[in-house]
Amino acid sequence: MDRRKALTSIAQLSALGVAASTNAAILNHKSQRPPGSPDSGLPAPISKGGYVYFSAGEAKEVGAIFDRLIPADELGMSASDAGCVVYTDRQLAGPFGKAASVYRLGPIKDGTPQQGPQMKQTPAKRYRVGLVGLDTYCRQQFGGKPFSALNEDQQVDILTKMEAGKLSFAGTDGQEFFALLLQNVQEGYLSDPIYGGNKDMVGWKMIGFPGARYDYRPYVMKKGQPLNLEPVSLFNGAS
């Protein structure tokens, strides 16, 4: 780096420092009070209404897959009853679906396993393409039936093969698609109800998680004892 470049970059860094410091404010008796809670800092509950990203057909297939992964049983309701399809729909319509926090410009190369997912497609696109692939496969193999119309054994067989890396579709790695589906159904079942899933806090009741409480000091010493804490959502009115 020559002298001119060095000076320029120092100037740029200083300018950045100044820009950053204009956002900070010293708290003193002249500060605006009370600090309150700006709306931008609050959790954002999902929007009302029907599906935003999924078509009705896609939603039906995703529900069938999710309910095979988390079926209704003695521990709780099924994934679709708990709102996991709605949860995933809103996530795919939002920043997660757009891979907003992921670097996706080139160069596109196959990464090593240690480098984590190396996909060009966004999660939303992976669902769209993956579901078409799965649907085509099922209709070819089972006399025109979609995944949702198959019996339990057939569905389990397909998902098991995908998970084991033995079944892939055009444009979709079956193992990676399975991992995405499993991740999202778990998130939906266990995340705060304001995001659409975990209806009646079924997931939290199942694992004994008491929810969004600020403070556990009264319980810290009660090791190994049932606490019987009713879980709480980020928002009281949600359930």
Partner: protein, 437 residues
């Protein structure tokens, strides 16, 4: 004929008495000790640094800047702060020595009359300017204050008009107000009390003008003197009793509790927030330890209200059990498991008289809007409380406050959801978040 004479006699007596009272209320002869020739903005004939310094201290003790400064403005004493009274908005004036827009053309006597008697060269002042307290200021303090005010940087800023409806916009009406409610008498020290007590009384009733917020007012804004310092609601905030009731006043506070609170903004029992935080920040934290100790001595001697502690609500009460759950989830992390707060940061609830007072305005307002602890030189943290308006419904807030008022030894009446609802409306605070089920 005789009857008519009697009636005339009665009328005559009434007129004479009213005239005498009017004269007494309007009597400004005590201000004649002040010079009436030199104007504020004139070149200063003497510059007495010690007097200016003492005057700056009087200005701090009187907290002039609390009102005579627009929020966020760096132009001290230039006015522009809108005081929301029950009668309308009264905007504070420019008291910098600017000739056109401030008090630059006032003489010292004009200044004395305005501060101690509510009579400015432009007409009668409204008692939002607490001349009914400042009338107690000594000649010496007034001379010093004048010396200081003349050194303030003149700011050219035209006064904003008040927004008062008829008939309150008639300033002459204040002559009648003064006749009824203005105790036009200088401070009189009490022979059978200590010098410390007398200094405290002088500061509390004079410069400190504590009664302006802490003494209940009648329908015309006059002090109800029989309930001196026993708590009052102003601008939606309840200024709690600072007299001797142990339950809702300072009866259980030590002198050190009081002095420490005024110096640092908090003690083990409470943390100043809202308008009192401003009073601590602008005024009391800058007062000498001796003066704060004197204030404590005096306040501890003031007889409190007779409000006895009621029976606390039962834990099985529906509001209480719901409130308990809400408290644990939303409040306990900072206000602590047993409502003991965090010393110097987060106010305690247990045993806090302000929490158990009959006025709920401050409690509801703080939950709805959030709050911030006083920020002082000795305790600059200024811990903040977030707003819970987005999260808690009117009933939730009523229940959790009812729980706080009736737990850990506290006892006070329940709070009704309707009260929270109307506060939410009047404070223009958002409704709770809508979450689709």
């Amino acid at each position: 004929m005789i009857m008519k004479k009697i009636i005339w006699l009665v009328v005559l007596v009434v007129v004479i008495v009213a005239g005498a009272m009017l004269y007494r209320g309007g009597n400004v002869s005590t201000d004649n000790v002040a010079d009436d020739t030199i104007k504020a903005a004139d070149a200063s004939p003497v510059s007495d640094a010690a007097a200016i310094k003492r005057g700056a201290y009087v200005a701090v003790a009187a907290d002039c800047v609390a009102c005579h400064n627009a929020p966020g403005s760096s132009e001290a004493f230039a006015g522009g702060y809108g005081l929301k009274t029950p009668f309308g908005v009264i905007t504070s004036t420019n008291i910098t020595p600017d000739r056109e827009t401030g008090i630059g053309n006032w003489t010292e006597r004009d200044f004395f009359r305005a501060v101690r008697h509510g009579k400015s060269p432009h007409g009668l002042l409204y008692p939002a300017m607490p001349y009914n307290a400042y009338v107690k200021l000594s000649d010496q303090d007034m001379h010093d204050l004048w010396a200081y005010m003349r050194t303030v940087k003149p700011v050219s800023k035209t006064n904003a008009p008040d927004q008062l409806g008829f008939p309150y916009n008639i300033r002459l009406m204040m002559a009648g107000w003064n006749m009824l409610f203005f105790d036009n008498s200088p401070f009189k020290s009490s022979e059978d009390q200590s010098a410390d007590w007398n200094r405290g009384a002088y500061l509390v009733d004079g410069a400190g003008h504590c009664a302006s917020c802490h003494t209940p007012k009648n329908g015309l804004g006059g002090d109800i003197t029989s309930e001196y310092l026993q708590g009052y609601t102003l601008q939606g905030w309840f200024a709690p009793e600072i007299a001797g009731n142990p339950h809702v006043g300072l009866g259980n506070w030590s002198n050190q509790d009081i002095a420490g609170y005024l110096k640092t903004g908090s003690n083990t029992k409470a943390v100043a927030s809202g308008p009192m935080a401003e009073a601590v920040e602008n005024s009391t934290q800058h007062m000498t330890d001796a003066d704060l100790a004197a204030i404590a001595t005096y306040l501890k001697s003031v007889k409190g209200s007779n409000d006895a502690a009621p029976q606390p609500l039962a834990e099985t009460d529906a509001q209480m059990s719901h409130g308990k759950q809400l408290y644990e989830v939303n409040c306990s992390a900072c206000h602590n498991v047993q409502g003991q707060g965090l010393e110097g940061m987060v106010t305690a609830f247990a045993g806090n008289p302000a929490i158990q007072s009959h006025g709920h305005g401050s409690l509801i307002q703080t939950v709805l809007k959030g709050g911030r602890a006083a920020i002082t030189d000795s305790n600059p943290t200024g811990a903040g409380m977030p707003s819970f308006a987005w999260k808690l419904s009117d009933a939730d807030i009523a229940d959790v406050l009812t729980y706080v008022r009736n737990s850990w030894g506290n006892a006070a009446g329940p709070i009704n959801a309707d009260e929270v609802k109307s506060s939410r409306q009047s404070l223009d605070v958002r409704q709770p978040m809508a979450v689709p089920n």
